[in-house]
Structure formats: structure tokens, C-alpha cells
């Protein structure tokens, strides 16, 4: 926060000497804000403006196209009712429970696996340059590309199960992608495959950035490797955990293509996530009010999770 004063280093000398000089100084003062202004304005309009627009639509009777006459909160009433319809599960119930399962597993496994591989890779590995891109490449591919390959691989009639049967392991059984209760876990598998390498890279960078003096000191104290990681190194990676969490959370929320490419919605719609729900209702079912309401609920949930985090992080920086 000391930086704030740095903004005006020349003000005392500039003040009141020459009008033109003062103009320049004032220009200098305003310039940073002017530079930032377009980006901020764009964000305000095209993110927050559109959020307001979505909130507005959720209280209308919009169907195929936006209607701007406010009606009532029927869209929310319907979502609220669907939230508790579990037998048979409503599409909304399926979507939000899946989001819970997917969100927790996806983020947890990506973090765990990413950290594990990063630690392994940080043991002065020969061929690191060869291995690293292998873990990273899934992030480079869109799911339009890899969805087909994954779909095949998980299909019991074509992929892993059939292959192992041909190789003689005939009792092997793996049909999650065809099973309404397990299909969401195949989405987790593919999602983890795609994102964990990126998380690994973040952790690897974090590990490489740790001050070696700290490590040396603890070794002199006789800590074992395991203790070293548990007590010293992993706690030092806290900022990486938080950054990775932001990246993963935003990817989890936007995981729309993943579900479509891999499962086309799953048996009886059992693989839906809220983003699929929103897309279906807005574009396919022409129930734009319901689609908008679901988007609002998603955003509200995200802000309930993210805003406190942002707040605490940014506050901490201020100290």
C-alpha cells in the first residue's frame, strides 16, 4: 500500500510553478485511470450489464425471445419446486446434485493429482522436459476433439472393457458411462484428465519458487521427507492452492462441452450440470425465463463462494 504515495512523486515540485507543468502533472495523474477505464467500462457493460439483463428477464414471461414486460417470479417458483423433486429426479435436481458431486471431486482430484505429479516431477527427474508436455497437452485440446476419443474409450462395447475382454480378462466390467447413477463420474474422469496437468504446472512452479534455505533448515532439524512436505512445503504452497482453486472453480462451472461431448446428457439426462440446464431451457426449450433464472441462481451461488474469498485475499494484500 506504500505504492499509493509513489503515484505522486513529482506533485510537490510541480504544484504552482507553471500552469502548463501543472497541467502535465494532472494529466500524469489521470492517465493511469484513463488507461484502465476502457477495460473497466467494458466489463461493467458486458458482464454486469448483462447480468442485470438476465436478472430482469428471469422475472418476465420470456419464451423463445426476450419479452420486456415484468410478470412474476414463476420461473423461480418452478426452480424452487424442482429443487426438491428427487423421485423421479427433476432435471434441475439432477443438475445441482451433479454440480455438487462433480465440483467437489473434480477440484479435489485435480488438486491432489496435480500436487502429487508436481512433487514427483520435482525430484530431479531425467526427461522432465519430455514428461511435462504429456501431462499438459490435454489442456490444449477442446472437447470437440477429445470427446469422441473419451466416449469410445469409456464405451463398454468399444473401449476399455472390450479391449480387456479381448486380452482375456473377461470378468472385467466398466459401464459407468451407460449407467444413470455413475455417468457423472465419467465426466469427472475426463475433466480431471483435461485440467490436472495445468494444476500440476502451477504446483510445479510453486515448488520451484520455495526458498531452499527454509528446506535446509528443517532438514538440519532432522525432518523426514514426508514430514518435510507435510509440515513445511505444502503449507508454503497455500497461494498456489488458492489460485488453482479459482481456475478450477471457473472451469467446473463452465463444464458444458464436457457433458455434451462425452455423454450427450447421459441416460435420461442424468449427466446434466447447471450450465446444460441453462442452455437447454434458454435455447432448446424456448423457456428463456427459466433459463435466465437458473443462470441467476448459478451466479448467486458462485458469488457466495468466490466473493468472500476475493474479499479476504484482497484485504490481506492490504496489510
Amino acid at each position: 500500500m506504500a505504492l499509493t504515495t509513489a503515484t505522486h512523486p513529482d506533485r510537490p515540485s510541480a504544484a504552482g510553478i507553471q500552469p502548463s507543468r501543472s497541467m502535465r502533472a494532472r494529466m500524469q495523474d489521470a492517465l493511469p485511470k484513463l488507461v484502465l477505464a476502457p477495460s473497466f467500462a467494458i466489463t461493467l457493460i458486458f458482464v454486469y450489464g448483462f447480468i442485470l439483463w438476465t436478472i430482469y428477464l428471469s422475472f418476465t414471461n420470456s419464451k423463445a425471445f426476450p419479452k420486456y414486460v415484468l410478470t412474476d417470479a414463476r420461473a423461480y417458483q418452478r426452480l424452487w419446486r424442482w429443487t426438491f423433486e428427487s423421485d423421479p429426479p427433476s432435471s434441475w435436481y439432477t443438475s445441482i446434485t451433479n454440480m455438487g458431486i462433480f465440483g467437489v471431486l473434480y477440484i479435489a482430484i485435480c488438486l491432489g493429482l496435480g500436487l502429487l505429479i508436481a512433487i514427483l516431477l520435482d525430484q530431479k527427474i531425467r526427461g522432465e522436459g519430455l514428461l511435462r508436455p504429456i501431462y499438459l497437452y490435454p489442456m490444449a485440446l477442446s472437447f470437440i476433439v477429445t470427446g469422441v476419443a473419451w466416449k469410445w474409450f469409456l464405451d463398454p462395447g468399444l473401449g476399455l472393457e472390450q479391449t480387456l475382454h479381448q486380452w482375456g480378462w473377461t470378468s472385467f466390467h466398466f459401464d459407468w458411462i451407460k449407467n444413470k447413477d455413475f455417468v457423472i463420474y465419467t465426466v469427472v474422469i475426463a475433466g480431471v484428465w483435461q485440467a490436472s496437468g495445468f494444476v500440476m504446472a502451477m504446483f510445479l512452479a510453486g515448488l520451484r519458487g520455495i526458498d531452499s534455505e527454509i528446506v535446509k533448515a528443517s532438514q538440519i532439524d532432522g525432518a523426514s521427507t514426508f514430514q518435510l512436505y507435510r509440515r513445511i512445503i505444502i503449507p508454503l504452497l497455500r497461494p498456489v492452492f488458492l489460485s488453482a482453486l479459482i481456475v478450477l472453480a471457473h472451469m467446473a462451472i463452465k463444464s458444458y462441452d464436457l457433458v455434451v461431448a462425452l455423454t450427450s446428457g447421459g441416460p435420461g439426462g442424468s449427466a446434466w450440470l447447471p450450465s446444460n440446464f441453462m442452455y437447454e431451457y434458454t435455447f432448446k426449450r424456448n423457456e428463456m425465463a427459466v433459463g435466465s433464472a437458473s443462470a441467476v441462481i448459478m451466479l448467486a451461488t458462485i458469488s457466495a463462494i468466490i466473493v468472500p474469498y476475493l474479499y479476504s485475499e484482497l484485504r490481506e494484500k492490504a496489510r
Binding site: 423463445a64 464405451d155 458411462i177 455423454t263 441416460p267 435420461g268 432448446k284 426449450r285
Partner: protein
């Protein structure tokens, strides 16, 4: 670094400065027919228009049976920049017409005599508020069985006339170790099959009441319950890996003799034709048992948008070419469907096509031509998808009994109305 970025910016500027193309003589066409046979058929239209001096601006967006294309269409229309025409289905046309986005082809329609040639059932979707807003391209029919003849001969089966016959036939195939029923476990395929099951179980009157008029008594009747029970029976003849399978892979199972029969719309015939199979010798087309005499249809339409006046000439040319007898015949021979006008000669069609044309004509005259609920010709998308949800949840076990299925159906349809 900076210099490179400057170059990029300069590059952007050059692309930006290219002047507007002259789009007056241009037909912009949004569609999801991107694969071999359909694209070839559409090329006929492109060439027809080329001879009249119109260029074709292709806007193909494949995937999800038109889902992605419909999203793109909505964005184009929202931007106030609609294509000349777009491939559309049933109630979607009416939704856009209601929102005031469609053009008016009535003059052309009257001059070309579409009112007489196009079946009234199709006009319900092509005409809104007395104005022609779309040009129907074809009529698909949903209540068909597609059977591999070699397998049929092997098990000694004959054409099933009733639902019980059908079950007996499936049993024979099962006993012979062939997958009896090829089904793709996606909601629209399951619901498309269920359309036929309901027509077979309840008869034409019942189908119309339940699935076109959405009559609540019919929807919660015992007949509907029995239809769900029949669907459950059919499901026992499906292989365990059916879930999520694409429809054309299910058709391929029949073509290759891995399965006996598929219940599917006549677009499946396009697959047999593409695989060089001949009706009567390689495969058989029967009406779904108990539905002979009725036709459950859906139709691809070219929705015509409200374009600026200078683009209207191109639009009219496209509409005329679409409903010309020569294009109707050429296109539908390839696509597996039948012409959208009843006065097109059936000479170029194969046996199944000829039967389809005759059936359509009879159903049109006899009042047994019904819109497919699953394909969006029975009710608006919100309701149709609610229906597909229920059928699919029943097939995949989230809904566990036919009693529950009927309750859910009534509730879901009521909710979406």
C-alpha cells in the same frame, strides 16, 4: 514485442476495412445437413439457384440434431441479421413467426399453388396467421420398422401385424442369438419410438387426443399406462450398451445384421441406401405393427425470414426452387423422406419410398396424418422436451413404474404448457 503487436493490430485493421459484400444476389442458408447424402441433395438446390444467377452462402452448423444450429439462428435473429432461410422444425417456425421474425411468401405460394399441393397438416406449420412463412422440404414418417432381411429369413419371421406379433418376432430373434431391437438410448430416439407405441396401443384417435391436443384425460388414461408397459416390454429386447448410442449407429447394427430391427423415422432409409442396400432384397420396411393406415410425420422446413426488400428476390427464388417438383423428387430420393407436395410423381423412388408416398396421400385424405410429438410436431418445444424427459427417464430407470410415468407425464406437460 511491441512491433509484433503493432503488426497484429495492422492485420486486424486490414480485415476490418474490407468493404461490404454485395449480398443482394445471395442466398444465405443456415442448416445442419453437413453429411454426405444430405449435403449432396442440398447441392442440387444450390445448382438450381446458380442457374438463375443466385450465389449460395452456406451457414452449416452441425451437431445435436440441430441444437447448435438453432442457437446460432437465435443469435443471428437477435442481432437483426437473419439468414435468407434456415432449416427449421415444426413449432420453432411458429415461435419465430409469433415473435414477428418471419417473412411473407403468400404471393409466391398462391402463384405456385402450394395451398393445394401441400398437405393441410404441414400448412399448419408453414402458414402463420394466413401468411406463408416457410417452405416445407419433405415429409418424414416416424412409424416405420427397418428390418435386416437376411436375419429375418434366418429366424423365419414374417411381417408383424400387431404388437403381440412384434413381441413374438423379437423373441425369435432373441432365441437365435441376435440383438432383437437396435435402439439408441438418447431421449429423442426413445420418444420417437414411443410415438409409434402409443399410436399402436391406443389407435389414431387416441394418439391425436393425447399427443396433438394434449388432452389430460387421454394423457392419464389406462391406455397411456399400457403404452408405457409396452415400451417397457420393448426395452427388454435392447442390448445393454444402447444408452447414448447415435441413431445411425443403431441403424448400422441392422445393416450389418447384428440386430434384427430398428424403430426409426424414414431417414434411416438414407443409411441403407448409402450402404448400397436394396429394399426388398437386403432390408424390409414395414409400418410399426398396428399403425398401418396412419402416418406420424415430421417435416424439414426452410423458414423464410423477414429480410430487407433488396434480398427478397433471392428468398423467393429459393422458395420456388425448394417446392419445385424436380427438386422435391431429387432431394427426397436421397434423403429417404417423401415429397412435401402430393403431386410429385413417384417414379424415381424405391419400393419403400413409393409406399411412403402412397401412405402419406391416404393418411392426408383419411385424416390420419399426425404430427410427431417427439419431433416437435405435436406441441411447442417446452412441452415436447418435457415429454422426452419423461420417456427417457422411464427407459433409463429414474421412473420406475408405468403408474409413475403417467403421473409424471401429466405433471410435466402441465408444467411446461
Amino acid at each position: 514485442m511491441m512491433r509484433k503487436l503493432m503488426m497484429a493490430a495492422a492485420m486486424l485493421a486490414t480485415t476490418a476495412l474490407t468493404a461490404h459484400a454485395d449480398d443482394v444476389k445471395e442466398v444465405q442458408m443456415l442448416h445442419w445437413w453437413t453429411s454426405g447424402g444430405e449435403a449432396a441433395a442440398l447441392n442440387v438446390l444450390k445448382q438450381d439457384l446458380a442457374t438463375e444467377g443466385y450465389t449460395w452462402k452456406d451457414v452449416p452448423v452441425a451437431g445435436g440434431g440441430g441444437d447448435a444450429a438453432m442457437t446460432a439462428l437465435k443469435a443471428m435473429v437477435a442481432a437483426g441479421n437473419p439468414p435468407t432461410a434456415s432449416q427449421m422444425l415444426g413449432y420453432t417456425v411458429l415461435d419465430y413467426a409469433e415473435a414477428g421474425k418471419m417473412g411473407d411468401l403468400t404471393e409466391t405460394a398462391v402463384a405456385e399453388g402450394w395451398d393445394k399441393a401441400v398437405p393441410a397438416a404441414l400448412q399448419k406449420f408453414a402458414v402463420y396467421d394466413g401468411k406463408w412463412v416457410a417452405a416445407p422440404v419433405n415429409v418424414h414418417s416416424v412409424n416405420w420398422l427397418w428390418i435386416n432381411k437376411a436375419v429375418m429369413d434366418k429366424i423365419g419371421g414374417t411381417e408383424p401385424k400387431t404388437f403381440d406379433d412384434f413381441i413374438a418376432l423379437l423373441d425369435k430373434a432373441k432365441a437365435a442369438g441376435v440383438t432383437p431391437l437396435a435402439l439408441g438410448g438418447q431421449n429423442w430416439q426413445e420418444a420417437t419410438m414411443f410415438d409409434s407405441v402409443v399410436l399402436s396401443t391406443g389407435g389414431p384417435e387416441f394418439y391425436k387426443k393425447a399427443f396433438n391436443d394434449l388432452d389430460e384425460d387421454a394423457l392419464k388414461s389406462d391406455t397411456m399406462k399400457k403404452s408405457f408397459d409396452n415400451l417397457a416390454k420393448l426395452k427388454t429386447y435392447v442390448d445393454p450398451n444402447f444408452s447414448g448410442r447415435d441413431w445411425n449407429l443403431a441403424t448400422a447394427m441392422v445393416i450389418n445384421g447384428d440386430a434384427l430391427v430398428q424403430v426409426m423415422g424414414d431417414w434411416a432409409k438414407g443409411e441403407f441406401v448409402a450402404a448400397k442396400k436394396v429394399p426388398g432384397t437386403d432390408f424390409l420396411c414395414y409400418r410399426f405393427p398396428g399403425t398401418d393406415g396412419s402416418v406420424i410425420y415430421n417435416s424439414d422446413m426452410f423458414g423464410m425470414f423477414d429480410v430487407p426488400d433488396d434480398r427478397k428476390a433471392a428468398q423467393i427464388a429459393l422458395a420456388k426452387a425448394t417446392l419445385s417438383k424436380s427438386f422435391q423428387s431429387a432431394f427426397n430420393v436421397v434423403k429417404g423422406s417423401v415429397p412435401a407436395r402430393t403431386d410429385v410423381p413417384d417414379t424415381d423412388f424405391d419400393a419403400c419410398g413409393k409406399k411412403g408416398i402412397a401412405d402419406l396421400k391416404a393418411a392426408n385424405e383419411g385424416g390420419t396424418l399426425f404430427g410427431s410429438f417427439a419431433q416437435g410436431y405435436g406441441a411447442p418445444p417446452a412441452v415436447a422436451n418435457a415429454y422426452k424427459d419423461v420417456v427417457s427417464k422411464f427407459v433409463h430407470g429414474q421412473i420406475t413404474s408405468s403408474d409413475q410415468a403417467v403421473d409424471e407425464l401429466v405433471k410435466a406437460i402441465d408444467d411446461a404448457k
